[in-house]
Symmetry: C2
Subunit: 392 residues, 2 copies
Amino acid sequence: MSIQSFHPPVRTLLGPGPAEVHPRVLAAMSKPTIGHLDPAFVQMMDELKSLLQYALMTKNNMTMAVSAPGSAGMEACFTNLIEPGTKVIICENGVFAGRMRENVERVGGVAILIKDEWGKPIDPNKLKDALKVHPDTQVVAFVHAETSTGALSDAKTLVEIAHEFGALTIVDAVTSAGGCELRVDEWNIDAIYSGSQKCLSSAAGLSPLSMNPAAIERISNRKHKVPSWFLDVGLVTAYWHGGKRRSYHHTAPINNLYGLHEALVMLHQEGLENSWDRHRYHHLALRAGLEAMGLKFLVKEPYRLPQLNAVLVPEQVDEAIVRQRLLNEYNIEIGAGLGDLSGKIWRIGLMGYSSNEKNVLFFLTALDEILASMKAPIFKGMAVDAAARAYA
Amino acid sequence: MSIQSFHPPVRTLLGPGPAEVHPRVLAAMSKPTIGHLDPAFVQMMDELKSLLQYALMTKNNMTMAVSAPGSAGMEACFTNLIEPGTKVIICENGVFAGRMRENVERVGGVAILIKDEWGKPIDPNKLKDALKVHPDTQVVAFVHAETSTGALSDAKTLVEIAHEFGALTIVDAVTSAGGCELRVDEWNIDAIYSGSQKCLSSAAGLSPLSMNPAAIERISNRKHKVPSWFLDVGLVTAYWHGGKRRSYHHTAPINNLYGLHEALVMLHQEGLENSWDRHRYHHLALRAGLEAMGLKFLVKEPYRLPQLNAVLVPEQVDEAIVRQRLLNEYNIEIGAGLGDLSGKIWRIGLMGYSSNEKNVLFFLTALDEILASMKAPIFKGMAVDAAARAYA
């Protein structure tokens, strides 16, 4: 076996995540490991909790980072809040609702899916109608910003409707947190999870999680133990929020948490609303460039995510070859479509540290040149100019 | 809120884990993030699989790193191999058997605990007797190297006995992998998990996992879906081992995996058996020093783990004050006792990169000085000399 040290290529990350990680965050991750019960580490975790509360606009005491990726944050919400027989309405407008359904059904819950077309936001009226038909629904779950389609749903209204019918809400904010407006307390979201590697721009592997007192009460009234020991919020809380009596639950991913701490310090220094604005600013320049090339968005203007741009692949263009050439010739990563959208869209992420002018101009130049070389009929050669004008 | 960048103190890590992380591994973790589906990353994962096979001495195709700490690796084994009604014998000789029991019962399995005194190895005869009483046992689970007591059990014999009775085995190798003899294929272990942050000396947050064809067959014959979507081995395998059709499951902890890759490259360069020998070599020097001070081990000589030294706290000494002074005056972390051993033992880890002469001599000097200043009756002042002679 002759395996050498790994030296990753330097990529421009414009896919659906991970986003690029700022050198300050990378440097933080390479600081010396200390123990997960070290007083200095415990203080860092307390700070991290405050920083996460800031990023999610919440005062929830139960705010922390799950020691695993966003999928585990999702599972932490469902496995704690759902018991056998719990009826859950899941609003589906992209790929992640299917995963939510798996989460519900695997722990014995009853999932009811209400469907909207992929690429459209969730229709609040359909949720209302479904809740009228199923008044015994205990939980409503939906994705705030659909990473698979680039569509933003109106989380505030959806939560209001769920609450009118007495249901709690689980909100997937994997792609929204840090990238667009998200107000956990003001919108009365009960349980929310995100991912470290998208608009929060830290390394992959952690999942911010927050639950309000109503969610915690539901968990404390469970009849059965949570099926997962690792994700049992009651146990994890004793480690994260135990104060001086903090008890050992599992070994936290120490260096990864250093990174998230630094990423959130940077978010706080920039200002959360400034970060939302920055994502929108670079999205508008990207849009100008893409439209100058004749490319069209999957999602209608009012519901477009600035951080995840789903663009229709022009006819006669093999989308996979374009992605491959972007990667091989320019070291640029963009994403493919998932599910029914496979082959039909590109997903261009401008998330976190990746959302900057240099990336937008470089990407437009590269895409322009590749499409031109393929003699794609939509090519107009005005992309970078248009973006530059948008910036000017 | 005035939270600044976090600068961890530089500690000498001699607790039950995390171990110190080599600068090469820390540097690997700070390399630029690339996508989890990037061809370069996929190649790195293939290498990582080979390196993990080397570290665990197995050819199991299903060898990977769970994207979460060792507790999740444990849960991956149980949640995949146990179904409602599955009878599991758990050999208990320390704290982690209790966690195994939680893992079994939370997914509907039936756990039978057979108990040995904490600090002693598991008695194979008790396992045999229990299997005679419960011939319908489908799984036997035990901890190879008990982190809570420092006792090593005879995994090879325990697995043989389980197999005689037709039961599969789940082995906790969190503290053993890399630190002492462990031969997964030769010993016919069916399912095994470890942790990245102990004798493999990478950052915390990953759990090496390996399953043989018998375990995989059991999983593929399940009647119910695995309760955890995130830890479903069938799904994770499609990502880790899908070859060119590798499918997205979750976003891997990319930078953490860089670190584990580098740590395992270093293990391979040192040689696995050399690593076992190194752990034993520094343990013997530590032992010489501790014994010169009149300190005694909890565990009898033949069952002592070189990487986790459980030392009885001398009478009239407040163990917590000693640990606090080691941390505050010397930046040395050692571990406290857990459960019934709380207040009675110190746990001195010499794991991975932490297992070196500099650490042994520094720790003995520090402990010697602290105990002398407390006028503890056992103080003899010969510790470092004794260790130095052991090294000479």
